[in-house]
Symmetry: C2
Subunit: 227 residues, 2 copies
Amino acid sequence: MNQGPSASPGVIDLLGLLAYAELGSFFRLAGDAVLAPSLRSKGQLAALAAAEQAHYQVLRDRLEELGVDPEAAMEPFVAPLDAWHERTAPQSWLESLVKTYVGDGIAGDFYRKVAALADEETRTLVEGVLAETGRAEFVSGTVRAAVEETPVLAGRLSLWARRLVGEALSQAQSVAVARPELAALLARDAGDGADSGGLGDLAAVSRMFASLTDRHAARLEAMGLTA
Amino acid sequence: MNQGPSASPGVIDLLGLLAYAELGSFFRLAGDAVLAPSLRSKGQLAALAAAEQAHYQVLRDRLEELGVDPEAAMEPFVAPLDAWHERTAPQSWLESLVKTYVGDGIAGDFYRKVAALADEETRTLVEGVLAETGRAEFVSGTVRAAVEETPVLAGRLSLWARRLVGEALSQAQSVAVARPELAALLARDAGDGADSGGLGDLAAVSRMFASLTDRHAARLEAMGLTA
């Protein structure tokens, strides 16, 4: 296996970020299940959480295979991801569902974009980890049904979705500042190769996030919410 | 498949109890990981939690296969198991490890004893679910190392282990009162067939719990604690 190019600092950052994000999703889903209204939905959330743990394991194993200390690779992303979760603590079962759907959706689009710029092995791995686990339908269907039953929820949950995105963008910017190699990897995508490095890369991160909004709007619509 | 005898009320109680216990263990392990001192041990706990979720799924599937509503089968055990967890909320990472080891150990011995009295298919299923997941060594080794480093912990954690057992016995008694079919299944083991039913069964449950103490003592020793 050709490990040299795979282990570029940007790719290690990507794998470390994604691994900690999956571990965080696992804990969040497991914790949110306390808010779940029935034994059955608690069980469904537990299954979703276990799927995240399996993803975490794949990414952690890959980092080890690359000769990288997995915890060291995750460490730089602990603070920004924890901060995002702290600032977006759901106050209800529905808020936690919207957070799962919106957060995972944006994060998934983001990881796929970064992975497309990495080596093939990393790309295949990341796409496998991000493959649908059936969660999206479960979550969007549940939210849509609740909004149809109680239309007043639409406005409140739409605002909540907007806040989730705003906080995510803010954390992404701070990650881009702290991890220049990752930002440089992103900048390649935005076609900013020429002025790459420093402020050019930061602007590229913003542009990339902006480009994610189409799919975000589609997700809101699937839940019966508006942008 | 011969489903008739497998679906006796005592067996359904056993599967429902075990399924909810596994779901509870999943949530507890995931929640306790907040106390875990490092990213690495958080990841290890997440893996243990995911293994519990897989067990829960096997038991839930089996209940469905038997034509039983899995949530209805679990329901009677929600209050006693939740009460046990509430009364034994760990105040530290080490307490949570001791709880995992002692609680799972006693519960495992208990389920194995009941399963030995059920039909073969149930027995095989329960034994598969209870098979070692590598957790015991991880947990007992971690506690033993901590006690060796800080001997004063031994007394405190030994007391904690005693309380865990006392609370478990108390909840088991209340389950035995509420679920006579399950108690009758247990009474068969204690050779109380003659005076089975009512108080005879309740006494049998106590005797069965008492018979579990040998293995409990061995587990305490493995952690460097005393009975």
